[in-house]
């Protein structure tokens, strides 16, 4: 017991001595942050912690906590990490504050590209972009003489060859865990076929030709995937890659760095990145663009907001980016695109460009409806046309209940 206490005390005092090593000032106001838990956020949170008096909660379930935590008065967190998908409830409830004055005071190093403006007011500061890109085992593809696929048709053709060669368990991986992940796969594929998600009157437009094509394309891939693909989320696909079980996947760019993590990966240096595949000739890559960034709570004092923003700028500085260059596609000065980010940059700069994931109330409802209704199609219980009708109905019911449809 005594020993444990001693060790603990020693560890804490050590932390105390190194705490302010890399920070240009000492933070004296208690600041808390709630954000997602992937690599880039860890890097930013660590950099902020160097200034002291900072607590970060890195939680992949942050999306369900954030709206009520920011609605509390005083807010439970000063800073929030958001993406274009999760900023919606905070914008709607006005629980985050406009940052124009704070950006003017501390944001000298920010590029205009980073400032998320809603009706001219800066509501968030982006630090990175995220999107899907094609990750593939370069060694396997070159062994089999396959060119890097650029469309889903080419991916399936390549997958068929890989399957025939039998070099991996499953040629393809996908984040098709029923619910949010699976819905996201559809939200990626559908615009790739030129489909629009909503009509002008807020009804959904997924029940269309493009919707049928998107569903059929998703299902076509399942013959090349793990039979248990309906339970696999991003982490699972990442691990399948790392363990050499799959050869290709259209996966989040934020997962790229894990391929070369020598502690986890058996395929270090073998996975290459290319732009997200297109769904049809001349179309945009079948994916959506995302940004991740920080927001400052409205329900805190101006002094706290000031300190929180200053700290956030310290966490999102060039020094942090240089130390964690491969953790994300940073928008911050000092980022040098490496081989890991080639795919994501190719995706983001493609012409026509993929759409940004919409930050709207309707999108949340549609996302849920997609996640709940598509599994029945993929398990074969229902055909594509009936599934699209079911999605439309589920969305309409939810939208009426939420007040966005009359």
């Amino acid at each position: 017991m005594m020993l444990k206490k001693l060790v603990l005390a020693g560890a804490i005092s050590l932390m105390g001595t190194t705490a302010f090593a890399a920070c240009s000032y000492e933070n004296t106001t208690e600041i808390k942050m709630l954000s997602a838990g992937f690599e880039a956020w860890k890097a930013v949170a660590d950099a902020m912690a160097e200034c002291g008096n900072f607590q970060a909660e890195l939680d992949q379930e942050f999306r369900t906590k954030q709206p009520s935590a920011f609605e509390a008065n005083p807010a439970l967190y000063h800073l929030g990490g958001v993406s274009n998908g999760t900023v919606t409830p905070l914008l709607n409830a006005e629980t985050i504050r406009p940052l124009d004055d704070l950006v003017a005071k501390y944001g000298q190093n920010l590029s205009p590209n980073q400032l998320i403006r809603i009706d001219g007011k800066i509501m968030a500061v982006a630090m990175m972009v995220n999107t899907q890109h094609l990750m593939y085992r370069e060694d396997i593809l070159s062994d089999l003489g396959i060119e890097t696929p650029t469309s889903w048709d080419e991916i399936y053709a390549a997958a068929a060859k890989i399957k025939e060669a039998g070099v991996v368990d499953h040629p393809l991986g996908a984040t098709m865990k029923s619910g949010w992940n699976l819905a996201q796969e559809f939200v990626n594929m559908y615009p790739g076929f030129g489909g629009a998600l909503f009509n002008d009157d807020n009804t959904t437009a997924v029940n269309s030709e493009a919707g049928l094509k998107a569903l059929e394309t998703m299902k076509a891939g399942m013959t090349f995937m793990d039979p248990e693909v309906l339970v696999s989320d991003s982490t699972y696909v990442q691990q399948q890659f790392q363990q050499g079980k799959i050869a290709m996947a259209n996966l989040w760019a934020s997962r790229a760095a894990a391929m070369n993590d020598e502690a986890e990966s058996q395929v270090v240096g073998k996975v290459k990145m290319a732009g997200a595949p297109t769904a049809m000739e001349g179309g945009a890559p079948a994916t959506t663009l995302w940004w991740d960034g920080i927001v400052v709570a409205a329900n805190i004092t101006d002094e706290e907001a000031d300190a929180a923003f200053k700290l956030a700028m310290e966490g999102m500085d060039t020094e942090m980016v240089q130390a964690n260059n491969d953790a994300a596609i940073w928008l911050i000065d000092g980022f040098t695109p490496g081989p890991l980010s080639e795919g994501a940059i190719a995706t983001a700069t493609a012409n026509p460009a993929p759409p940004a994931y919409p930050s709207t109330t309707q999108m949340g409802l549609l996302h849920t409806a997609l996640g709940n209704e598509i599994p029945a199609f993929l398990t074969g219980e229902r055909d594509a046309a009936a599934t699209l009708v079911a999605i439309d109905e589920a969305y309409t019911t939810a939208a009426k209940e939420a007040g966005v449809l009359k």
Partner: protein, 341 residues
């Protein structure tokens, strides 16, 4: 006991039950007939988001809630009668499926899909839990005294495991190339995917639930076995009753109140099956009523929660439990009255 003393003893419990069970129940009941929604307006909003090099700005018509003077989103609450129940039950589709003879279509509606599994799960595991529990109890009761302690300890272990953790452990043992799947694959020589189709997932769920709950039945039965009248048993032996006949005519009738008790608890618990769905990630294939309620309640990325439908679904779950419990409760009631005279 004087009424005052009785009251003093039960008052804290009654208070807690009112506060934490009765009042929330009333509130859920009321909310199932209401819909509370934000007041929405359509605004032209310009949104600028980063691209990789330059920003893209789009101006679009957005539907956003109106913020009231107190700084909160303005909401309206309407009485909608049975609308939320209709949304959950989707009876129009059920009649359509019935009249067209395609009964399978009913199981594509979330509620009915969940009800099918929940009922089957509850009713199939019930006899298994009682049977396995009784079997362990009889085995332990007949084991040599020296072994009893360790055997009881080992049999109780599954019951100690936190349900979600237990479900996750089973998931990890069987998913992908989990240890047990890999073993089965080596043994059978074929590629096995336990989580790729509904029936294998359900099978694992039944197995897990019985494994987890049987120790509870065992403890209760084991205690009951200690009170079996030895005279009756001995006279049954003298009358030439076989082991089976003694079990059938002496021990089981003696344990009957306990069997009913376990059935009651099990029906109540099992009808609210939830951990298995989350632990096994089975949403694509198998869902339960309780999961459906939680899914309605979980906010999406835009912060929407279907509170009205969640309330309706919760009330329907409760009605289901009441129906299931009527039979065993009537029996207990009869026994209770029978014992009084």
């Amino acid at each position: 006991m004087k009424f005052k003393t009785f009251f003093a003893f039960v008052a804290p419990s009654v208070f807690m039950m009112t506060l934490f069970i009765a009042l929330p129940l009333v509130s859920v009941f009321i909310q199932s007939f209401q819909i509370t929604q934000p007041v929405m307006q359509q605004l032209e909003v310009e949104t600028c988001t980063p691209g990789f090099i330059t920003q893209t700005c789009v101006t679009e018509l957005k539907t956003v809630p109106i913020i009231g003077e107190d700084g909160k989103i303005q909401t309206t609450t309407q009485w909608v009668g049975l609308q939320s129940y209709r949304n959950v039950l989707q009876m129009d589709k059920v009649w359509e499926a019935l009249s067209s003879g395609r009964l399978g279509d009913i199981l594509q509606i979330d509620f009915w899909k969940a009800l099918r599994f929940t009922l089957m799960f509850t009713l199939l595991t019930l006899p298994l839990v009682i049977g396995v529990g009784l079997l362990i109890a009889l085995t332990v009761n007949n084991a040599a005294r020296a072994f009893r302690g360790p055997v009881i300890f080992v049999s109780l272990l599954p019951f100690i495991v936190t349900p979600v953790i237990g479900a996750l452990s089973i998931y990890w043992l069987f998913v992908g190339d989990g240890i047990l799947t890999a073993m089965m694959e080596r043994w059978s020589g074929t590629n096995i995917s336990m989580f790729a189709q509904a029936w294998t997932i359900e099978l694992l769920m039944y197995f897990y639930r019985v494994w987890h709950v049987a120790p509870f039945a065992f403890v209760i039965f084991y205690a009951g076995l200690q009170t079996v009248n030895m005279d009756t048993l001995e006279s049954a032996v003298i009358d030439g009753a076989s082991r089976w006949e003694r079990l059938r005519h002496v021990i089981i009738p003696h344990l009957m109140p306990l069997i009913v008790f376990i059935a009651l608890i099990h029906l109540m618990d099992c009808y609210r099956v939830f951990d298995e769905i989350i632990g096994f990630r089975s949403q694509a294939h198998v869902i339960s009523l309780q999961w459906l309620t939680v899914d309605f309640l979980t906010p999406d990325d835009a912060g929407n929660r279907a509170i009205a439908r969640a309330s309706a679904s919760a009330m329907l779950t409760m009605i289901g439990i009441v129906f299931l419990l009527i039979l065993p409760l009537r029996r207990t009631w009869r026994d209770h009255k029978g014992g009084a005279h």
